[in-house]
Amino acid sequence: MPQGYQCIVLHAHLPYIRHPEYESFLEENWLFEAITETYVPLILALERLRGAGVKDCLTLSLSPTLLTMLRDPFLQARYLAHLDKLRRLAAREVRRTRSDPAFAPLARLYHEQLETAVDVFDRCYGRDLLTAFAQLQTDGVLELITTAATHGFLPLLKTETTAVRAQLLVGAQTFQSLLGRPARGVWLPECGYYPGLEGLLEEAGYSYFFTDAHGILNASPKPYYGLAAPLVCPNGVAAFGRDPESSRRVWSRDEGYPGDFHYRDFYRDIGFDLDLDYIKPFMLDGQTRIHTGFKYYRITGPGEHKLPYEPEQAAARVAAHADDFVTRSRRGIAAQGGRTSPAPLIVSPYDAELFGHWWFEGPQWLEAVIARLAAQPETVALTTPSAYLARHSSLQSATPSASSWGDGGYNAFWLNPGNDWIYPHLHEAARRMQALSRQHGAAAPGSLPYRALQQAARSLLLAQASDWAFIMKSGTAQEYALRRTHDHLARFNYLEQSVLDGVIDERRLQALEVMDQVFPTLEPAVYS
């Protein structure tokens, strides 16, 4: 029996971005880049681990918006078109760099990565990566969980209980309808928890969730085992706390592994480095420079000067960083003094898109960590929350403290002078959605009023995505976030009034259904 457990959690989420009203759309690339650079490498790593007999090595949260997008034929087709364009660029890059001993191997590396993406995405899984993740869960390699429907930041929606309930229920229903089984646990958007939320989590069928470290450490009563064991809320829903030490080793800009000078630099990209005439065919509008994914330099150091990327050196650093992580995990477990009931546990959650997209070597590192831990399970064994709870179901009862994993540890990143204007509208719309659902909930499924109700709920959920408030604060793509919030609130308002007036323009409704084609099985009654 191991001395303790390590639980690695990846949370994969992207906002719902789908713009059939445009021939191409820059922000759709967020999904395409994540597929090529994160999800496909992750699937390949997990398949290798499955071949080695590894079980319960990862908990993967797939957000309902991401699930929907990965299953969307429109976006699947656009992704293949995106890949085709990049493969043409790769061929050109292989030719362009063939006499350059530093860059030629890198061009071939990216060419190979793109060919692999086509193989996995199209030929292997018929464009449906959910099949791959579902199979990995069926084989016991990982545990899949999900999050709130559009990743709404629940602590700031809590003034309207129906809004929080709908976020959770629609999320749970979407997961089940797309993956064929319910999720046992939930990743709270941005780790945002407030006391009382556990009642709605139970209602949505979840048996556990995660909080940031101080959510557990400031729990009431005081947690006897600190972060080294989950707590159980009085209603029986378990809470796992994020370990700050292992988080810092991956997240920290200064101390984290991804900042190693031998790793690939994210920002130096041929989309900005090469002549516009050469790169123009691969720009969305033929004018605006964007990241292409072809990055030939390593971080090198803090200055502007960069040296060519050397994958072999990076691989050596991956091995060293994996060793370091595993060693520290074992030390952390050993420091618990051999306690066995409940067994010590380290929970290390990360954003999935960090691995591969931002940190190019991330998937290799993750695979190396898992392989090392799996090789010596007698010290620290890998586990998933469900597997851990199966062994340790009797835990200290306590209610976590309000918390998030955002800057400052609470709600400030999603509520500040840069984005506070959205909350009066979000709360008001939630109240009106509840009233609308109660007043018109008897509409027959499939009828125009029912469809309008469904679409109004979709618009409201999409407006509530935490991503928009986050982007408004962080400053990148700010205009897009403002527009999305504005558009969804306006669509909700339009649909609400149409239902109230009894006058529904079917063509307009169809247009909104085409544009916001998310949560097809949504039942407006979740707002009643």
């Binding site: 869960q137 016991g140 009563p221 066995t340 009931s341 125009l448």
Partner: protein, 446 residues
Amino acid sequence: MKKPNPKLPGMHAAGRHTMARTAGAAGRRSTQPGKVRPAPAPFSAAELRQISEQISAAWFPPMAANRLTLLDIDPWRLHAYWHVAAQDLAAARASLAGGGRDARLVLRFTDLSPRLPGAQPHEHFDIEVEQRHNNWYLDLWRDAKHYVAELGLRAADGDFIALVRSNEVVTPRAGPSPELDFRQIEVRSPRALPDHGSGPEPNQRDSLLRDLFPKRLQPGEDYPLIIPAPGAAGLEEPAFPALDELNDVDAAHRVQVSSAPDRARDAEKASTGAEFPVIQAAEIDPYRALARRAKARMLAGIESRLPPVAADTVSPTDLELLPLPLPIPAASEVGIGSNGDHGKTPLLRPPARTGSALAGQQRIPLEAMLGSTFFSPGRGASPVQASADILISGRGTLDRPLLLFGEQVALAADGSFKLQLPLERGPELAALLHQLRERYEDGDDG
């Protein structure tokens, strides 16, 4: 929002349908459930863009109802936003003396946090705000506070007219909770994972239980894990060694060494129906009484030093024990320094090999208790060390094995058994009691 539905330019005339407001009325156009809805005529990207832009331009929602909302940002900061119709504000102002010319718009915060006995409840403070801002950020001086607010007009003479009342908000705690109650409960979900083999296999469950207390599962080493019931044929030691034996470290050690159970023999006896004596309740009762009183003393000592705790944070077991009288323990009661006849097994005894003991009427210091109980892990070194044993007895069904921590327990012919285990300091005290009880209660008939 009761905005009239405008006729928007560019509307697709053929797609507009009018419905009656009542369900089922003539004029409603709806798709029958179960029928396949005909696919809409294809949209061009331009048409989609046009519809999207028209709706966004004309339908951004205004605020309608009067409302004041509080949101917690962090332990020391609140955000308030509000909407009050201009006519409502004007009417309120007009109702004040002098037309309310000097009245100020204020947010009146009321502190609903639990207060000390005798303190004035519901203290409040005002923040002057401006209507045109419609929101405010408020810095606080304490965490974990409970507030409600009203937006209203405060006249120069102090009169206050509330326009709208907020929701209640509780700011987060910024540090550890003072509550120290420790209770274990079960996670809500089923324990098994039906879909893949990550959960423990049935034949591994014993080893999982065994792992709970590995130090006690090394037969024949430090301590007799399982002591057969007294009078078992072929066994030399009684199930409950005499008190003087246990108070004598060396004697206790001898017992430990020599009382390693012969499980094969026990199993054979059990299977052949060899007779074990029935354990009488009277044999156990003195120990139970002693345990209850010791725990009551411990809880009372701790309670006097801890901040008040709500009744619902105390476990049912503790509530049962708290009302008991709290005499200063005599050495004879705790089996220390005396061969009193309260029982043969001490619940508190001097630490092995140090030989130190508590004198007759000496009160056990609170720090000693805190240092050796689950209430305060990791506190400083204690001047007194305490150890305890637990006695377990019961009855099982002979045709099914009875396992305790993965070890099979030898049963008497009538299914009875009796065990003695050491308790160690620290958190395992509570966990062991719980696990034993749960396992015990989960047993077949025990």
